[in-house]
Amino acid sequence: MKKIFKYVMIDILRNKIMLAYTLFLLLISLSVFNLEDNTAKGLLSLLNIILIIVPLVSILFAAIYVYNSAEFLELLVSQPLKRKTIWLSMFAGLAASLALAFFIGAGIPILLYEATATGFMMLGTGLLLSVIFVAIAMLAAVKTRDKAKGIGITILLWLYFSLLFDGLVLFLLFQFADYPMEKFMVGVSTLNPIDLSRILILLRMDVSALMGYTGAIFKNFFGTQAGVWLSFVVLLIWIVIPSWLSLRKFNRKDL
């Protein structure tokens, strides 16, 4: 496991896109923190950028990397190695390098300017989101043989999680406006890791007052210690289930 992980890591860290992504995050976070006098405001601006960019880069980079490694995977599968080892090393390599890029690009500025509980929350969710979207990308990549189709699917998935899902939720809310939907909404928010991260961070900021009655319910649930732990467990499940499904698929895949 360690050996293949090492080769995947070395290969990704040499990749220029990875360097560009890290520098881009670094540039954005430093400028956002320096633009505003109030670092809490800076954190809010950074939140919106991170919730869009981190999933997009993670899902696209991971999917393209897996497709480009088809030869590498084929070579390894014919060697005395467990398929599980090969796939999990690939996952670990991608997840570790994207998380590392996020940590250097956004994590270090957050720790420098806003080393509060909210800052740590943002760091944690950003790292988890990187890993979650690597897992989702690998599932999409192993399910579709065609590269163009697979990358198209990952873009659609990203669009779904960052835009369409919110639209659907709003639609549901308006349709069932006469019913008490607040508790239901708490459940629905666990279906989207990006939303869950956003809620977790927003609730630690003053702006959560703007969220109205639903916000109060959210605060009652996600604001508590137990709620936060539960949300992190849900985010971890978002890593485990896609990677387990993709591993199962890879074990039976014809190469």
Binding site: I4, S69, E71, E74, P80, R252, L255
Partner: protein, 237 residues
């Protein structure tokens, strides 16, 4: 050593392998022959576990290969089209494979690496290699770990005559050491001096598995190419 029992594999509607049963023993040199698309590569890939068959099973030294992976350390595989990560150099590929497969008690067999003069090309990236050089890398990797079983899929396709001759000599030496060798090839004339057994496949069905003497006796032809041509004609009629 390798026993396949009633192996079937479908790719969508296409039946690549239809109820194939084969027994391969130590010391044999088996030629897998058949028209294009007859399932030769699929059979090889299912033995290697790269293709998972729909029904039937394959055992290696008495153990089902389905949930096993260590058996592959006894196999050297040379694919038909060697596909390697584009960004790695020959040297990196060689050292990576040694890192993954190499054990302390295994003596590396670098004869082909030396004879193909791959040592002079270690810094070349795989993307820049010609098809023939790639085949040389594949061949060198297949023989590198001194495996008991060699599976060679179209080994000489794309090699220049000198390299093809080196490879053939190497196959003969390994055969004399009592290893099991599985070869597919369309160049039947070069198999004449190598093989002891012939497997003929068509449309995913194993038509026959005979020793070469038997085949010569049945068809009355001395040359393998003529004998196979004879068989193909009689099957198609």
């Amino acid at each position: 050593m390798i026993i396949a029992s009633n192996v079937s594999k479908k790719f969508g509607k296409l039946t690549a392998l239809d109820n194939v049963s084969v027994t391969c023993n130590k010391g044999e040199c088996i030629a897998l022959i058949g028209p294009n698309g007859s399932g030769k590569t699929t059979l090889i890939k299912s033995i290697l576990g790269m293709v998972v068959c729909n029904s039937g099973f394959i055992t290696f030294n008495g153990k089902n290969i389905l949930h096993d992976w260590q058996y592959r350390s006894h196999i050297g595989y040379m694919p038909q089209i060697g596909r390697y990560p584009d960004n790695m150099t020959i040297g990196q590929i060689l050292s990576m494979m040694k890192d993954i497969r190499g054990k302390k008690n295994i003596l590396l067999d670098e004869e082909l690496v030396n004879q193909f003069k791959l040592n002079e090309l270690l810094g070349k990236r795989m993307r820049t290699l010609s098809g023939g050089t790639r085949q040389k890398v594949s061949a060198a990797l297949a023989f590198l770990f001194n495996p008991d079983v060699l599976i060679l899929d179209e080994p000489t396709a794309g090699l220049d005559p000198v390299a093809a001759e080196i490879l053939k000599e190497k196959i003969i030496t390994e055969k004399q050491k009592g290893k099991l060798i599985l070869i597919t090839s369309h160049i039947l004339s070069e198999l004449d001096e190598l093989v002891t057994q012939v497997i003929y496949m068509q449309d995913g069905i194993l038509k026959f598995h005979k020793s070469i003497e038997e085949l010569r006796k049945d068809t009355g032809q001395e040359k393998l190419s003529k004998a196979i041509a004879n068989v193909m004609l009689s099957i198609n009629q």
